[in-house]
Amino acid sequence: MLKLNSIYKTFNAGTVNEKAVLNGLDLHLEHGDFVTVIGGNGAGKSTMLNAIAGTWFVDKGSIVIDGKDVTRLAEHKRAAFLGRVFQDPMTGTAASMQIEENLALAARRGQPRGLRAGITAKERQEYRESLKILELGLEDRLTTKVGLLSGGQRQALTLLMATLKKPKILLLDEHTAALDPKTAAKVLEATERIVQKDNLTTVMITHNMKDAIAHGNRLIMMHEGRIIYDVKGEEKKGLHVKDLLAKFEEASGGEFANDRMMLN
């Protein structure tokens, strides 16, 4: 479903701030894979998602989604295949527009936009139904401006928008990191429900090792722009946080995991 073939990305090439963030990254995902991604700061986790999303083009290597080479495809065109939820709850929605308007924008992802109505009465009914899966009561607030919602509500809405039009790949970039623990748990539950329902191929970055173990069928650990640990199936289920910490120390040559990872 997703193939990253030896991709490279260097920022600020040729300057003192030069930083090679992706160093020959390889990743192959099967249809229906739910992979969790962990790694220290600057390991290249978000950069990998941005590479898949096409925020910029990679320097070397190729990206293939469901058999289609998208390496040189612009971000807004690639969006047809992708659902994205960002870390910052403010980034995934249009604050000055209503809940239903945001959903209607997402429902048209990957389609040409013309002079047809931006939202129809039939859609409103559908959205009322689909919002129920979030269990936040948003189905009764269709015309509320998104800017009036809490961070957790916005993040849950972004999640629904990302999956309203079934994406080939769902990209979650620490989408619960900015939320309080209780809200984060709720959004994560909603994520699990939606991914299960549609059997979505999913890449979820998290800094919470327990979440990384508890969710998905596969776990990868990144370090210096490469995958250094890749585990799936039964082996993954049997993992403990201390195993991951040990792995991390081993990989980073004794350098200890960062504070944020320790806290969880």
């Binding site: 999303a53 612009a74 971000e75 807004h76 065109k77 969006a79 047809a80 992708l82 994205r84 960002f86 980034t91 995934g92 929605t93 249009a94 604050a95 000055s96 527009m97 308007e101 209607a104 924008l105 997402a106 048209r108 992802r109 990957g110 389609q111 936009r113 013309g114 002079l115 047809r116 109505a117 931006g118 939202i119 928008m161």
Partner: protein
């Protein structure tokens, strides 16, 4: 300071205010919906009138002259949009470049003259300062401009509710999210700029007819008047819960109020040459208020 002088001047101020209200609706589209300050309008506010008057002098009917003015305005908006998106030039600078270029183009359109007059008695004008009083109701400029505004708002209300219109609004609200939802934000920005400048040029065509001439300086400071109208509408009507159509109507009222206030301060004895300074100062104050309020409340001060 004869109060009658003021009263007789008021209908004219309302008519001018309404025409500038149309222009302000154009500014609202870029400034509020797209979150871009587009300075192209200082050029297009002259271009539209130049195109309109020259075509009419050549014998074309008024509706055709206004349509062409609208299209030429859209072309100017396209140039700014192209410079901004595909050439990566900051929006303000792209607008200034278009505006400067338009100065020469405007002179060319006007046969290299700074001013081109049109005689209201010889040509069939849609609006004129002569059509304010002592004309049949259906010829009254205030009524005609008001009807045009109603039609314009109806069309814009429909358009910004369509898929492409929603995409333009989303672009102004959150460009990153828009791209993630598959919207080509370069295209939506260009479209918004084109529509905005088309409307401004159309208003310019009306304004030139109203005054009876096209003038090379007609657009100087137009952006400030447009912004003033937008800001006045926000300050006076911002608290009213209103849909998009009413918001646009309030913007055009903003233009009327601006001209009424102007008329009063002129009547009170302000030197007409000082007008632009006063306008700039007032707009600067109102633009600064949100920032100062945020600072006072201890916020980041970047509102």
């Amino acid at each position: 300071m004869n109060i009658m002088n003021l009263l007789t001047a008021l209908p004219g101020a309302v008519a001018q205010g309404l025409i500038w209200g149309i222009m302000a609706i154009g500014v609202y589209i870029t400034y509020r919906l797209l979150d871009l300050a587009d300075l192209t309008v200082d050029g297009t506010m002259c271009t539209g009138g130049a195109v309109c008057i020259m075509l009419m002098l050549k014998g074309y009917p008024v509706w055709m002259a206004l349509t062409v003015a609208f299209l030429v305005g859209m072309l100017a908006g396209f140039v700014t949009g192209f410079l901004h998106t595909f050439m990566g030039i900051p929006a303000i600078l792209a607008g200034i470049l278009s505006q400067l270029g338009l100065y020469s183009i405007n002179l060319r359109i006007m046969d290299n003259k700074a001013n081109q007059a049109i005689n209201v008695d010889k040509y069939h004008l849609l609006v004129s300062l002569r059509y304010i009083k002592n004309v049949p109701v259906y010829q009254n400029t205030i009524l005609i401009v008001a009807v045009i505004i109603v039609v314009l708002i109806a069309v814009l209300y429909w358009f910004f509710g369509t898929e492409i219109g929603s995409a333009i609004r989303a672009t102004g609200s959150n460009p990153n999210m828009s791209r993630a939802q598959g919207i080509n934000t370069d295209v939506t920005k260009i479209l918004g700029l084109m529509i905005s400048n088309g409307i401004v040029a159309f208003a310019s065509g009306l304004y030139a007819q109203y005054q009876g001439f096209a003038d090379i300086n007609a657009g100087r400071g137009a952006i400030v008047i447009g912004l003033a109208a937008v800001i006045i509408s926000q300050v006076l009507f911002g608290k009213i819960q209103s849909n998009f159509a009413f918001k646009l109507a309030f913007v055009s009222f903003g233009g009327v109020i601006y001209y009424l206030v102007l008329q009063v301060v002129l009547w009170l004895g302000l030197n007409a040459n000082d007008l632009k300074l006063v306008s700039a100062a007032i707009v600067a104050v109102f633009l600064a208020i949100p920032h100062l309020n945020a600072k006072r409340k201890g916020g980041a001060g970047n509102a």
